[in-house]
Amino acid sequence: MATIIIDGQSFELPEGAKFNAIQAAKHFGIDIPYYCWHPALSVVANCRMCEIEVGTKDPATGEIKMLPRLVPGCQTPARDGTVLVTESAKVLEHRKNIMELLLINHPLDCPVCDQAGECGLQDYSYEHGRAAHRFVEERNVKPKKEVSDLIVLNQDRCIMCTRCVRFTREIPGTAELHVMRRGDHGEIAIFPDQPVDNPLAGNVVDLCPVGALLDKDFLHNQRVWFLSKHDGVCTGCSTGCNISVEENAGKVWRHKPRHNPYVNDYWICDEGRYGYKAANSPTLLGGNYVLEGKDHHGVPTDRFVKRLNETLTTRILDKQSVLGILSPYLSVEEAFAAAQWLASLTNRVELALGPVPVRGEDLTFAPDKTKGRSGDTSFIVPRPFTISAEKAPNRAGVEMMLDHFGKGAVPFEKALESVASHPIVIVFGGSPDESWIEADQVAALRKAEVLVLFDTTINPLADVADFVAGIASFAEKSGTYVNRDRRLQRFEAALPPREGVWPLLDLIAIVSGDGKAPIRSQEILKAAARVVPGLAKVEDGLVPELGLNLDSKDQPIPDAGFQDDWTLANVSTV
């Protein structure tokens, strides 16, 4: 067993771990400040913030030999017998010096800087900096520039950590960013007419430890300390990237990636990043509607449910059969509850899968560590990042329910053909995109005698359906999705359901009239796990933080990656 000594305390390193000193210390709850190091990028050790005293302990004699000078923690492997001193006077004095140097040319415009509140400079200058600095000369002033339509670069705030440059070279491999000139006149730049427009470009904003690279979409809108973060899963494609949905005052303001080594590592694509806008869309359905004559009339939920149930009961008593269409945007719980309800209506029910949007081909970015700066890459465990062509979050999960309750996943096209034999069609939508259904498909579905739609947006099908119920959007519901790799992942509601609208789980409970029906997603998942064989691994409706692989055991992660947590909340207050 490998033992590491940090600040005089011995710790056992986990089996198979591939840590550097920063990761090892963090693993045992000790913070070493850093800027340029990022767990997924090559190590260049140029910010010099993470420098500590390093030594080795001789296993035979127990003698500790320290190196005479400071060593960057990012560059120091944590091995058996490694000795780290992170809080000595020498180290603390060094941090003071580095903070002072980083700030001599940095403008003090925190009040107008969007990074304020999640800024590495703010945190570390509070924790490690000098109260006053000794620089009395003129500051270097550098220009503000736009590196793409979505990203702005405030060069005077940059600390030249080169994380962004390394990212564009190593992860998407597009290398749009470069360093211009040298010395204290160095700048980050793009080549003229070659903006940072790769599909992962937005990640450079997250990577930037200071307010140099900022998202124009979020610029000057909110102060980050007003935002509440909610763990979410991106619904943009079947990769199911872990995101943090950040809202304030009833609106979602941004999506940020959340680290999950099994799914998205540290990244999200720009499509997912700006997918938050659908949560604030004015085209979301604002209530329940019944088609009377040619017009839809908004009705309160109790009357809507009553009329829907009356219609369904009459028709079903007439021995008419039901076609249920479950969209891949439903959560596992919603699909389970919906399928269960449909099955309880009649035994003449056919279940089908809603349209699965597919665009292009899967796009995989394999990290190429040789493309970056020639730093030390031995700590990095490269993991590819894939943007799926399948633009729905939960096809696998919905299919699982269809397999259980129906005769397998009937594709949407085939279901359309069978509308003729099913006078009642009940569609569960949920796509944030209004154009999820095409005109000819709407026409085919409208052939049904009764068309019921549960959906989030005002879309062509909602224009013609007999019953339209607005349900909670992706940001307003909790539940789980099963991604492309059959990983079950939990997400939380970021917003309360908008006025006049119920979450689908509640609505089904009301419609089915079962007063005792569970409406908490965890309970439904628990119930589903009891009957659906694919979910057998779920225990007590609980899903681990990194998700649950439904098929096999997860490979252990040798590098305990962690996200930068430069937020005010993490600063210990006096």
């Binding site: 070279r169 290398a175 749009e176 470069h178 000139r181 040298r182 730049a189 793009i190 080549f191 070659q194």
Partner: protein, 174 residues
């Protein structure tokens, strides 16, 4: 990459392109040719414009930003064309001790330019240098055709400037 994919009109002529490509076998990867290619382009155009950087990137199968990264690091490559002759006047320690800074100032004042600028007639570009490695001639100057001047004083500086304005001399004649 095949030449047909290159944008038109192309800036780097075929002969130069072949010369750049002839350097590729010298190194284990193409990227290493960046610096020689920049030198070749520079001596051809007497500057390295953006379009040329783009074409170098295409030849070497890297991105233009990577070429710009390398190019901007070094002090040697200008983006705007230079004068017919480029002369560096050294201001490093040995030359400074013998009046290098004053000579640079003097030369610029004579030519009515700032260090780094080209004379109005486009004949001469004067730059400062952080040591030219010809300290045995300090205070020294070096022109980009390889001529070494020094030790300079005000009168020999004037003579040097006059000589340089006559145009470059091929290296063989040195």
């Amino acid at each position: 990459m095949t030449p047909t994919t290159l944008p038109t009109p192309r800036m780097i002529p075929d002969s130069l392109r072949q010369k750049i490509e002839s350097y590729v076998p010298r190194y284990p990867n193409k990227k290493a040719v960046t610096l020689p290619a920049l030198h070749m382009v520079h001596s051809h155009f007497r500057c390295v414009p953006y379009q040329a950087m783009k074409e170098i990137a295409e030849i070497l199968e890297i991105t233009p930003a990577e070429v710009a990264d390398t190019m901007s690091f070094y002090g040697f490559f200008p983006q705007a064309p230079l004068g017919d002759v480029r002369v560096w006047i050294c201001r490093s320690i040995s030359c400074m001790l013998r009046g290098g800074d004053e000579l640079l100032e003097h030369a610029c004042k004579n030519l009515n330019i700032e260090p780094g600028q080209t004379t109005a007639d486009g004949k001469l570009t004067v730059e400062f240098a952080e040591c030219l490695g010809i300290c045995d001639h300090a205070p020294a100057a070096l022109s980009d055709d390889g001529r070494v001047f020094g030790p300079l004083d005000e009168s020999s500086l004037q003579k040097m400037l006059d000589d340089l304005r006559k145009g470059p001399i091929p290296l063989e004649e040195l």
